[in-house]
Amino acid sequence: MGQITLQGVQKSFGPVHIIKGADLEIADGSFVVFVGPSGCGKTTLLRLIAGLEDVTGGAILIDGRNVVDVPPAKRGLSMVFQSYALYPHMSVRGNIAFGLKMAGIAKDEINRKVEAAAATLNLTPYLDRKPRELSGGQRQRVAIGRAIVREPKAFLFDEPLSNLDAALRVQMRLEVTRLQKQLGTTAIYVTHDQVEAMTMADKIVVLNGGKIEQYGSPLELYEKPNNLFVAGFIGSPKMNFVTGELAKQQGATTIGVRPEHLKVERNGQGGWHGTVSVAEHLGSDTFLYVDAGPLGMLTARYVGELDLHPGDKVSLIPDPARIHRFDDSGKSIRA
């Protein structure tokens, strides 16, 4: 079991409020990603759940039991750190076994569990090496091995892939997701990378300035963002925002259209007119950065190759069903 509930969790360091009251319900076995810009409090929230920081207010329930006064080791969670935080003087075996050793488990059993964890993570040939003799990806796997071997109620991941190169990151992303599904253990994963958030999560928590802006499945967040912040943060390239007369016509202060929901037409009629200032040709996609005069800079995404170049005139036609409307306070207006 690994059901985690946050009730009005607050954290301040002196006069600075880092977490301003977080309420959250994390179902057993689900993969939840905390995402947000740096300084939004996502890592702090994870550390509060881990017990590495004390809450200033509120309650954290693990399987219904309030754990705010329980030390980290007794919460039954395990954590994977951004820096891996392996014990440099211990072998891979020693690293993975450390938690079990601390729990006073018999040697044979420790060995059996360590071997099993190593086999799951393809670490068997490296069991007797020291962390410094491993590559970044292997170190990361050892850190994960250390987490899974204790069969915790939940895994806590603190930006575990951000030190890896791009190719390895994609591969590890898949491995982590697959492993979590296979073990069926609850996981909370912190990242600032919204692609990681979208691809890995069952549910995403978008944090901003110490507040939970929205909690929902990746597609919910993409299709129905609660506010301007979530709309701008989820999706790549970012959603285009237009204010002024055009927005007023739609009964909103701001309207937003995602780059993929703008139809591009060469010298077309209707829609929003502009001049291409930068065109990025990826083969699979073409990204156009269009100077649309009073509307500002707009980004459009075309699937496939589009033979447009800087200086070309285009018109962008938004998909009427995909226009997001926001009010004065930035909240989403839903019809």
């Binding site: 590495l52 395990s78 954590m79 750190f81 440099p88 003087h89 450390f98 938690g99 601390m102």
Partner: protein, 276 residues
């Protein structure tokens, strides 16, 4: 072409390094050579480098005139004792400042360092009077005390920087893994801090061994370490170069040997964190 230049550069820089190394080592070599000369040859001009009448008579005289082993034992006790006590005080101090710093930690560290900025001679008279009053003059415990206090700021600083290098994440990982403070100390912190502890210990030992100001001023015979032993050859009956050299060679020999065997550890300790 490029390769030739590299080879030539390599040769030049190797030669230069050897030259600089030799220049630095030369006074020690010269001292050792002089210790095997007769007094007359020791200050002959032009000096003879290797072709002189080799003799060990200086060593015999030195041991006869003043008991080398007595002073060596004092040096070992004083340097060892002051280092040990300094480490015992510094480890918890540096530990707490590195792992649970407060707003004033930086100030405390700077204040400690600032005590090293005052020339010792500035407090010689008061310290001497205090020592006289408490009967600490020419005692080993008195010297251990003063050397320990003198080196404590440096020891704390060094240990603080080593402990600071230990990533907090690793300690937190140990905590998540269920280690109590005691086990965290034994299984995680201490093994990681060993290089730092070792090099601090060595450096402090060397500093205490070579310390001359306080040992010369606060001891005469009973507690006098090797520094006093050397100095005694440069004053009373004029300068005896050969005997002075023999005494100095004897005095630095133990620390030189120690330094030689631990140089790898020392260098690793002193550049800890600089090369990752």
């Amino acid at each position: 072409m490029a390769r030739m230049v590299t080879t030539r550069n390599k040769v030049i820089s190797t030669a230069a390094a050897w030259l600089v190394g030799f220049l630095i080592f030369f006074p020690i070599l010269w001292m050792v050579l002089a210790s095997f000369k007769t007094e007359l040859e020791a200050f002959a001009i032009p000096p003879s480098f290797l072709f002189f009448h080799w003799t060990t008579e200086n060593y015999v005289t030195v041991q006869e005139r003043s008991d080398y082993f007595h002073h060596a034992l004092n040096s070992i006790i004083i340097a060892g004792g002051s280092t040990l006590i300094a480490m015992l005080i510094a480890i918890p101090a540096a530990w707490s400042m590195a792992f649970s710093p407060t707003k004033r930690t930086k100030d405390v560290l700077l204040w400690m360092l600032s005590t090293k900025m005052m020339p010792p001679v500035g407090v010689l008279v008061p310290i001497y009077l205090i020592y006289r009053t408490f009967g600490l003059l020419d005692t080993r415990s008195g010297l251990i005390f003063i050397l320990c206090l003198g080196n404590l700021p440096i020891v704390i600083w060094m240990l603080f920087t080593y402990f600071k290098e230990i990533p907090k994440d690793i300690l937190e990982a140990a905590r998540m893994d269920g280690a109590t403070i005691g086990r965290e100390l034994i299984y995680v912190l201490t093994p990681m801090a060993v290089p730092g502890l070792a090099s601090t210990l060595l450096l402090n030992l060397i500093l205490a061994w070579n310390e001359a100001f306080w040992t010369l001023n606060l001891s005469t015979l009973e507690a006098a370490p090797l520094t006093v032993f050397i100095a005694s050859y440069s004053s009373p009956e004029g300068l005896f170069w050969a005997k002075l050299s023999a005494a100095s060679t004897l005095a630095i020999a133990p620390i030189l040997v120690l330094g030689w065997f631990s140089q790898r550890q020392l260098v690793r300790g002193l550049t800890f964190g600089a090369v990752k």
